[in-house]
Amino acid sequence: MTTIAPPAAGTAASGWRGLVADWSGDRLAFAVPWGKAMMWIFLISDTFIFGCFLTGYMTVRIATTAAWPNPSEVFALTIGGASVPLILIAIMTFILITSSGTMAMAVNCAYRRDRVRCAALMLATALLGASFVGMQAFEWSKLIAEGVRPWSNPMGAAQFGASFFMITGFHGLHVSVGVIYLLTIAARVLGGRYEARGDYTIVEIAGLYWHFVDLVWVFIFALFYLW
């Protein structure tokens, strides 16, 4: 990681003028550290990956000749004798969005150099993320027990299982990687590595990734579970 000098006074113009100043200036096109710029660019690229996955899923959903299973029924849990549609997904979504809140607080603490609280909040974020992955594993095993496979399923179109496992799997992989990432950074925060350098940008960068993973989930939720 590299620390960079803050932009000189007067370059922080906003609007159209700011845009022109950014692009006609030397050295930095955006007044952010290298790592943060790279994370943003990576996330845009990753957006295209998820965009293609979701577009592909929607296309095969339209293309397939067999009936598409009703997500509210497939993803319902029986609680106290009553079938509650999408209850697990609702809880998972709530947890993931909550984790974005704790992550934002962790970034705040990082910039206030509150090491212990920052690490604790990152740990909380990682735990929420891990519980999300755990619930996803529960959901997978429930569907597998019901006979849903990538190549077939008893409820209708085979593409249902294929898209479900592929998209939630790829997203779950992102969450899992994020949990490891957050834990690593949290340990370093606690160990004082960034305190010594006086630069906590990495926490914000990890936060960017985490919020992105959340945002993607919102789209998966809307397009796969609610449609």
Binding site: W23, R27, T59, Q159, M166
Partner: protein
């Protein structure tokens, strides 16, 4: 050296040349790997031509092998040679030097990028040694045939191909993040975006395209792997094969085509834009004249990059689509000709009344204009739905894309290597061997592809193993095919001259000095040639002018390097207004 913070100078052989994090070493690693794998693809193309020119004379080229050669030739050339060499090779070497940085912003990631690329190449090459051989599905890998029995290499080859592509995409992403971030965030003092040499602009925009286009290939690769290995049906409709219904049902083969070409068309510009940039700099330097319409050239690169994402379905006119879609994609395709034509005009106008030095890099640059213009013009034919449909599956298409995105980028690569080799090694490549290499390659290109246009008009279908017994193809077509094969073999063998030149000149070439071409850009102003670790010695260079102050009236020499202050030499009349005012202020 406060700016020098990325990593310390390596000491041992292993950290210096093998596990290197220095962008210059990584660039050479990338380039040599790409050239090596490109030679494999060159041999494959000559083997294909042997079958087409002299059918049956070489019994070991059976139909299955022929299709495997076609597939591997195409994929290697497009992805593992052109993309890797332009971005991983030229991009790695030139970006930090041209923008005045000490290295890429993430050297470790850069190193990983190369090793992932090498892994991708090895996985791809493993296809030649597994049972059933590499895939023969055609470089576009269209399902359902790509993964069904009957196509060569459906046992292992297709799996290795897809896995290799996925690894390559990871490598390209790691590299691309570095290139884009370095250009945006690590330029030296005074190096504004509109003072960047066009080479950097081309590679920069191409890297952005790669970051946004490869995801579509990644996703289609994952889906096809699932179709093959797990038995899913993303791309597989209900199929009756040999009287037996397959387990697949309900998938969409056209979805693959959309995903593939959403990657595939920007890919054309991923290899074309760096070539545009390199050609611009070669022409300006060797014509001793500023590039004509610099800003327009930059905007043309950006516009082409943007448009390249909305033209993909012009590869799918014969797949069947709503006529209004065809209308839309034909329109966007023809619109792309506007910025492209601007570039060609500007190259020609740069040459106009220039002090042209016909050195080898310049020969390749002028050759590029010629092949690119021809290939671009046939693109206008194919961009129109009604013209494309009869021509689509003929050799006309083969000729078109080989002219425009096969040979043209390769000519740019050759020109670039002849141009920058002195910076890499301190010695010039041999001029006479270079001219031999150029003339045979350039004239050979026309000998090979001009007749193919004609064969296409005759209706000779592409992708066929043999052409006996088709009444609509006249017998004389076979003579033309034999001629093409001989020309292709001559061109293929001539590349050995180039390789010999590369190796021989390393020791015996004429010493070049730091700036043999009298070029203005920063990479020629390094304190050492070849540049040492960290590139710039104690202090970073400071940029005071655009990259094209050639033949400025009143200047002592016919070029003014970018790091010469305005007070020391005035900017040329064609320099951007901002630079001119600064010059007048000092004068």
């Amino acid at each position: 050296m406060s700016e020098h913070d990325a990593h310390g100078e390596p000491r041992s052989f292993w950290t210096k040349y093998v596990w290197s994090q220095d962008h210059k070493v990584i660039a050479i690693q990338y380039s040599l790997t790409a050239i090596a794998v490109g030679l494999v693809a060159l041999v494959l193309s000559n083997l294909m031509r042997l079958q087409l020119g002299f059918p049956g004379a070489f019994p070991f080229i059976d139909p299955a092998r022929y299709y495997q050669f076609v597939t591997m030739h195409g994929m290697i050339m497009v992805i593992y040679l052109l993309t890797a060499l332009f971005l991983g090779g030229f991009g790695n070497y030139l970006i930090p030097l041209m923008v005045g940085a000490r290295d890429m912003v993430f050297p470790y990631l850069n190193m990983l990028s190369f090793w992932m690329y090498l892994l991708a190449v090895l996985v791809l090459m493993a296809g030649f040694f597994v049972p059933g051989g590499p895939t023969g599905a055609g470089w576009t890998l269209y399902p359902p045939q790509a993964i069904l029995p009957g196509t060569p290499g459906t046992e292992w080859g297709i799996v290795l191909m897809l896995v290799s592509l996925l690894i390559f995409i990871v490598a390209a992403t790691m590299g691309g993040l570095n290139y884009v971030t370095t250009v945006l965030q690590a330029r030296t003092r005074g190096m504004t975006l509109l003072r960047l040499p066009l080479t950097v602009w081309g590679i920069f925009v191409a890297s952005i395209l790669a970051l946004f286009a490869f995801p579509a290939l990644f996703v289609s690769g994952v889906m096809m792997l699932f179709d093959k290995l797990l038995g899913t049906s993303f791309f597989m409709p209900a199929i009756v094969s040999m009287g037996q219904p397959l387990k697949h049902a309900g998938g969409s083969p056209v979805l693959f085509q959309h995903l593939f070409w959403f990657f595939g068309h920007p890919e054309v510009y991923i290899v074309a834009l760096p070539a545009f940039g390199i050609i611009s700099d070669l022409i300006s330097t060797h014509a001793r004249k500023n590039i004509f319409g610099y800003r327009m050239m930059v905007w043309a690169i950006v516009a082409i990059g943007g448009l390249s994402f909305v033209v993909w379905a012009h590869h799918m006119y014969v797949s069947g689509m709503n006529p209004y879609f065809g209308y839309f994609f034909a329109t966007t395709t023809l619109v792309i000709a506007v910025p492209t034509a601007i570039k060609v005009y500007n190259w020609v106008l740069t040459l106009w009344r220039g002090d042209i030095h016909l050195r080898v890099p310049m020969l390749f640059a002028i050759g590029f204009i010629s092949t690119f213009a021809i290939g671009g013009l046939t693109g206008l034919f194919l961009g129109n739905v009604s013209v494309d449909i009869p021509l689509s599956d003929t050799y006309f298409v083969v000729a078109h894309f080989h002219m425009v995105m096969g040979v043209s980028p390769v000519l740019a690569i050759f020109g670039g290597i002849y141009h920058w080799y002195p910076k890499l090694t301190g010695r010039l490549l041999d001029e006479r061997l270079g001219k031999l290499h150029f003339w045979v390659t350039f004239l050979g290109t026309y000998a090979i592809y001009m007749p193919m246009h004609y064969l296409g008009f005759l209706g000779m279908p592409r992708r066929y193993y043999a052409y006996e017994g088709y009444e609509f193809i006249p017998a004389s077509a076979q003579d033309l095919n034999a001629f093409i094969t001989v020309a292709a073999l001559v061109v293929g063998v001539t590349q050995l001259v180039f390789l010999f030149n590369l190796a021989w000149s390393l020791r015996h070439g004429r010493p070049a000095g730091p700036n043999p071409w009298g070029a203005t850009t920063l990479e020629w102003q390094t304190p050492d040639t070849p540049p040492r670790h960290g590139n710039w010695g104690e202090t970073l260079p400071e940029v005071h002018r655009w990259a094209y102050d050639y033949s400025v009236p009143g200047a002592a020499r016919d070029f003014i390097p970018q790091n010469v202050p305005q007070s020391a030499a005035p900017a040329g009349d064609d320099a951007p207004p901002a630079d001119r005012h600064a010059g007048e202020g000092h004068a």
